[in-house]
């Protein structure tokens, strides 16, 4: 088969993920790639970003001369607060998370299984420093959990798998995955491809996925 073109850039994935966020949503964006999504919320939609360290209504990064070291996000980077923001302590913040008050979170992933299992906190390696943060809370409490990730690791190993090999963050929690190659839904029948990156074929995406894929693109008869 011919070599496909490059997949979507990180910004393009973020832009695609942002299109699915409804006006008025309360959203938590995971540390790293998912943070980019905030920059692509379509014009005319107002969303409220939650950062689990204690801020609802998070705004963009401040100008370098306006950094307040006591106003940071969960990734420990300086941020701002939008009009209508509020500050609260950690127990209240995770009451929002665990209590089902957030509409959506978009997290990074090491692996997503075709039953919706997510692994994104530990490689299980004995010399790694264990660290979990708020990921398990988010996946168990937020109404809709999506993932934004590269389709494969840097060495080409698929991240969409039949069964996670890394320790789980949560079981059966992911409903949709945005990658550089495709938009993939988790369904009762496993992974369903909803969209494919320009220049890529279903078979090329399937070859880079370690689980059965169903072609569910609108207009495509599988």
């Amino acid at each position: 088969m011919s070599t496909p073109p490059p997949g979507l850039t990180r910004d393009q994935i973020a832009e695609r993920a942002a299109q699915d966020i409804a006006d008025g949503s309360y959203v938590n964006l995971g540390i790293g790639m998912p943070e980019l999504i905030a920059q692509y919320v379509p014009e005319g939609r107002e969303i409220v970003l939650h950062t689990e360290n204690g801020l609802l209504g998070m705004g963009p990064a401040p100008a370098p001369d306006a950094v307040d070291p006591e106003l940071i996000n969960a990734g420990k980077k300086p941020v701002t607060a939008n009009p209508g923001a509020s500050y609260f302590h950690h127990a209240d913040s995770f009451a929002m998370v665990r209590g089902g008050h957030l509409d959506l979170c978009v997290l990074g992933a090491m692996e997503v299984a075709s039953n919706g299992d997510l692994a994104n906190w530990s490689t299980g390696q004995s010399d790694a420093i264990p660290a979990v943060g708020g990921a398990m809370d988010l996946v168990s409490g937020v109404r809709v959990v999506r993932v934004m990730t590269t389709h494969c690791t840097r060495d080409g190993t698929p991240k969409l798998v039949e069964k996670c090999s890394y320790p789980l963050t949560g079981a059966g929690v992911v409903s949709r995955v945005y990658t550089d190659l495709a938009v993939v839904d988790v369904t009762p029948q496993g992974f369903a491809v909803m969209e494919i990156a320009p220049g890529w074929s279903f078979d090329e995406v399937a070859a880079r996925t370690d689980a059965p894929l169903r072609d569910a693109r609108p207009g495509v008869v599988a």
Partner: protein
């Protein structure tokens, strides 16, 4: 755009259906969302389960809702009132059910409902008849009972100030159950004396973040249940 304002109390409570569970804020006469409760009386939903610390005062608000026969069950801690016989009369007539819960357990069960905690152990009430039939367990040699979260279809609460996002400030001890009921309901309806633009409230002082609020009605000059009762007012 996030705009949780609705035009009237009537509109805010229009969808409350027969048989649903409604949390009603307030402690004694402080913090009672009188205008919302009166709108619920006008609306007429019946067979309601009401979660509220008390069971109303005088002949207005929750007492009137009970008198109108709309409440099938009360979950609360102190349904006795020195200024109203409405609950007592209906209870003695066997026309209302009561689940009596210690006040702190009531608060914690509501907070748990809002925080995604389905159950917790508490020492309160252990070794009393209010623990009868409940799972018990010892921690550090002290008996505890397992208590379950409370959630509701609706919460009706009163705030002093709000913004378009539903952020809330309360007034003094009228805060009481407002912030936790807002967390524990599927749809939280707030009456607020003022409703400003986002940014009108200091983010450090917001007592209830807007994420917990669904609808805000401005009632610029709310009646005080305290005054209505003192005046002998009767609703409807």
């Amino acid at each position: 755009m996030i705009d949780k304002r609705v035009a009237s109390a009537a509109e805010a409570v229009a969808e409350i259906a027969d048989g649903e569970t409604v949390m009603i804020g307030g402690f004694g006469e402080a913090g009672s969302p009188i205008e919302l409760v009166h709108a619920l009386i006008d609306q007429g939903a019946s067979g309601l389960t009401v979660i509220s610390n008390n069971a109303g005062n005088g002949q207005v608000g929750l007492a009137a809702l009970i008198r109108c026969g709309q409440v099938a069950k009360i979950v609360g801690s102190y349904p006795r009132s020195s200024n109203s016989t409405v609950f007592a009369d209906v209870y003695r007539a066997g026309r209302i059910e009561l689940e009596l819960v210690p006040q702190g357990t009531l608060a914690e069960r509501i907070r748990a409902g809002g925080a995604g905690i389905p159950a917790f152990f508490t020492p309160t009430g252990a070794a009393t008849e209010l623990a009868d039939g409940k799972e018990q367990r010892f921690f550090d040699g002290v008996p505890h009972v397992l208590e379950h979260a409370l959630r509701a279809d609706w919460a009706l609460i009163k705030a002093a100030a709000a913004d378009r996002h539903g952020n809330l400030l309360f007034n003094k001890t009228a805060r009481n159950f407002g912030p936790i009921m807002a967390m524990a309901a599927r749809t939280t309806v707030v009456q607020a004396a003022s409703v400003g633009a986002p940014g009108s409230l200091d983010p450090e002082t917001v007592a209830t973040p807007g994420i917990f609020v669904n609808r805000v009605v401005q009632i610029a000059d709310p009646a005080q249940e305290f005054d209505l009762v003192a005046q002998g007012a009767h609703y409807p």
